[in-house]
Symmetry: C2
Subunit: 580 residues, 2 copies
């Protein structure tokens, strides 16, 4: 009972001071409780040496998805106190969720407690609650612990922050189509995948019951996937494998009743992939008996039927047993509310600058699916750029003078480099010359501002929006953690590009996304892979690449071992069909 008494004694000592007790509460709720406790004690009661120990900056992180977890995993600076708030106390390896829906991988194998993810030297605590309001004025977030909490009726509380990192992700987008919310399954969370799994088994059990006619059985075993993106396609292939490799053995009659339909509003599935992959996938699905209906826009869903409109305007209604809705992402209410507060109400996601700072807010960062980077355009800043390069204020710019700032410009405006690459140009000189030619002055090597404008006018067409993928979120998390780690140091020695519209340099280099490739598993141990440099690989070999990449990307050794052993188990014993 020793530590407890010590704890109680401390508790009493801090009882009267409001600010101290707030820190106390924050500390005691933390995963690192007792240790934190004694540290707080050290910094506040060392009679008078308060100035010697600096108050830790409090970082509140909302969300434990890819962005949040990778931020937490990379943050490595003990001068922060991190408070993580999320309705789920674990990180989930979402790219394996389609595998979880059919039991190829177990739910438990793709999750890791968030408390295990933070580094030991970072003081981190976790609250299982949902943030429902962000107040940038008072620097507070308001949270609600999830339904069913039975503690005194109190469910809401607020938390102060010095820095706020918003990484709440997005929610499924129903496009307000009637009946979708009520009747469809989504595939964002681990629980969704578990529910889909038991619904699939249920469908087979239901279709086995007596008193049903052939038509009803067929309806129950009609699985509809809406959305031909990577998730929808992977789920459809997983389901097909599950049915053909495992379920038909136990429900042999079902084989001829099962139907899988994939509805896609666009003209092709997997449109974000190379055309070769799209074609291969459509052909393979045709062979596998997955009915791909392209150009089908869902207009209505009720409890037994789904209605879709073709491009010709014809509406057809199909009876279904289960629908998985995987069409895109929408904004979460808390983010929507916050966007309204800061005047971004008409946007789809939180706009940040290239350093992931929410536009117009101090010390608030947003990353992952809830945010988009608002890349500054060259043409918006063209006058300032000219001024920065033209140091002597001569009104003209030589190529040589411009080359002195070009690295900073390319750092600040990545579209410049992309544009050069897309035009096959080797350097900025080529581009500037083009500006002069267009203005008819081929003779000189000096440009005026109009000539510079004309040279760079096409550059901004290369501004790219980042896709809402795990890869982007993870890289953003790591980037932001590295910025936080070196905040103090970079304050003194900024390492970013020149400030075009101000003095000095930016503290950090802006975030730059490196695309490492993308997979689309197509079932039957075949995967399509699109790797950097538009290298496309389809088939069994990319399936093995997929296995090794996904195994290596696991967040912990525990999940790595579990995922690999799940795969082995599936090879040996097949997937389990018990309804649990």
């Amino acid at each position: 009972m020793r530590p407890y008494t010590f704890f109680e004694r401390l508790s009493k000592a801090f009882h009267d001071s409001a600010s101290l007790s707030k820190i106390l509460v924050v500390s005691t709720i933390s995963g690192g409780g007792l240790m934190v406790y004694s540290e707080a004690n050290a910094s506040y009661s060392n009679n008078g040496v308060e100035t010697g120990t600096k108050r830790k900056k409090k970082v509140v992180l909302l969300g434990t998805g890819w962005a949040g977890a990778s931020f937490l995993k990379s943050l490595n600076n003990s001068s922060y106190e991190v408070q993580v708030i999320s309705p789920r106390n674990y990180f989930a390896f979402t790219p394996l969720l389609p595998s979880v829906t059919c039991g190829t991988v177990e739910a438990r194998s793709v999750v890791e407690p968030i408390r295990n993810i933070a580094r030991k030297n970072v003081e981190m605590s976790f609250l299982e609650a949902e943030c429902f309001r962000i107040d940038p004025g008072s620097k507070k977030v308001y949270c609600r612990s999830k339904q069913g909490l039975n503690s005194n009726g109190k469910k809401e509380f607020d938390v102060d922050y010095d820095f706020l990192v918003i990484a709440t992700g997005a929610q499924s987008n129903t496009f307000n189509i009637p009946g979708v919310e009520e009747n469809c399954h989504f595939l964002k969370e681990v629980e969704d995948a578990q529910r889909i799994r038991s619904t699939v088994i249920d469908s087979f059990e239901k279709a086995t019951l007596p008193g049903l006619n052939e038509e009803e059985r067929k309806r129950m075993l009609h699985f509809v996937v809406v959305g031909g993106g990577p998730t929808g396609v992977e789920f459809a292939s997983e389901l097909r494998d599950f049915v053909n490799e495992d379920l038909v053995k136990l429900y042999p009659k079902a084989k001829n009743l099962v139907q899988i339909t994939l509805l896609e509003a666009a003209d092709h599935i997997l449109t974000m992939f190379d055309k070769r992959i799209t074609e291969f996938a459509e052909e393979k699905f045709g062979r596998d008996g997955i009915d791909v209906k392209l150009g089908s826009m869902v207009v209505k869903v009720n409890d037994k039927e789904i209605s879709a409109k073709t491009k010709g305007g014809e509406v057809s209604t199909i009876p279904y047993g289960m629908i998985v809705w995987s069409t895109g992402i929408g904004t979460r209410p808390v983010v929507k509310d916050f966007m309204k507060q800061i005047g971004q109400g008409n946007r789809r996601a939180l706009a940040t600058d290239e350093w992931l700072r929410v536009e117009g807010c101090d010390n608030i960062y947003a990353l992952g699916d809830c945010a988009t980077i608002n890349q500054r355009k060259v043409m918006e800043d063209i006058a300032d750029i000219f001024k920065k390069a033209d140091k002597e204020n001569s009104g003209t710019l030589t190529v040589k003078k411009f080359q002195e700032v070009i690295d900073d410009i390319c750092d600040r405006y990545p579209q410049v480099e992309l544009y050069l690459k897309s035009k096959g140009m080797h350097g900025i000189a080529d581009l500037l010359k083009q500006g002069q030619i267009e203005n008819g002055s081929n003779k000189s090597i000096e440009l005026n501002i109009e000539e510079l404008k004309s040279a760079l006018c096409q550059v901004d067409s290369q501004v790219k929006f980042l896709p809402a993928t795990a890869q982007v979120a993870a890289q953003q998390g790591t980037y932001l953690a590295k910025c936080f780690d070196r905040m103090e140091q970079c304050e003194k020695n900024p390492e970013g590009p020149i400030r075009v519209r101000g003095e000095g340099r930016h503290r950090f280099r802006p975030f730059r996304y490196r695309h490492l490739g993308q997979f689309a598993p197509l079932g039957g141990e075949q995967t399509a892979a699109q790797l950097p440099g538009d290298w496309v690989s389809i088939g069994h070999s990319s399936q093995w690449l997929w296995y090794s990449v996904y195994a290596s990307k696991q967040v912990s050794w525990r999940t790595r071992v579990l995922v690999v052993s799940d795969w082995m188990r599936r090879f040996i014993f097949g997937r389990d069909s018990s309804r649990i």
Copy 2:
């Protein structure tokens, strides 16, 4: 599409005949659908050779627990058509449920689809539904598919049987104590174990939230186990290990707040075990900080407090965060209803004879926790026994004459053998002599009926009721399957003991339970084992025995591999605390 057209064609052909279409429905719903179909076809349309193929006897099996699954696993006679009906489509290895509550073993690792359990040569089909009424008059069971089935609103159907095997098990017994049903967790099903697991994690997360005082946190982390039987004790030890080995690392502050209390109404825990085990367990729990309150009878539960009465009549009320109720078993409604119909309304479980046939019913068998064997008493049949032994009707019985029937008597009345053993007697002669001595006639070796009565009058005290354990249920299932396998053969050549009150012999030898020992895991890699011959072993060695016995008893290789790998994973990585 070939098989399907064939199927449709058949469907039409049988459409007009009511009895045929019934068979049709029964066949098509089966897991073995198409094959069954063609067999039905074979027996019904081979113009005129109907007599050549015998109609298969239909066995309806209710339940997929230990009794049902072991029946199914052992049945090996293709002349039956088995229809299994149960609300769950899998068998669960229930002795590992306490391990599932804390994630030592995963839920998926202890279940096996029931369709995988039946032998290939037995025609088996499964319906996921709950039987709510048994009608022995019309030889039908009435079933309801579980809530949420959305097929035409129809949820009920009936199934005919030739033989009915009732193996529905029992439910938790709340003893009608107010508030138990609403506020306590039970531990009968896999879902119960999963719910307990997430409630434990929830409790830790809730206790971490701000705005709570010390007392509330303590309440939330107070886990109460009611019932000191093997399940309750094992759960308490598992929970203690989970908290001490894994959770304290992630929630270090919780260590001093967690409290585990075990309430037991009797004077000791584990009363069905040897006294040495009970003492060891109580002492170990004391050392481990599990508060064992003996002689505490729960009288009331509300949403935050549990009230228990001591033997002295004093009622104390304890605040709790979670209660696991594990005190004993009660009768399921369908069994209760059936018992009323057959005049057993005032019993706790279905009474069967020693061949597991429900008393007073034709072709209905009951086994496992829903049934008890009503062992026939020697004294009830003493006159008939005398008559059988005294073949010449001389009115007296020599020991020699009695010895001719003694094997049959011992087979029919196992208590005779138990009595001899308990008295240290070597044969029936000793017992009969005792009867003569008591009647004062030491001189002769002949007994009259009064002397026989007096010799055997104590024997029935050895009648033993079987415990409601997995071991009993499994042995009963295997026994009954073997009887079914040889039903025809034993009809002709009965192999049971002489019928005392009738002519000839019983078809089968009666069921005889062989106790193989019992384990009580006590946490910290220590297990108490009580093996046959009252051999007691406590400690780490019996933990390894436990591991090997439980691994070997798994119903399939898949679950065996999974369970063993779960144990290994736990050794290496600990238990996961993600709330899924």
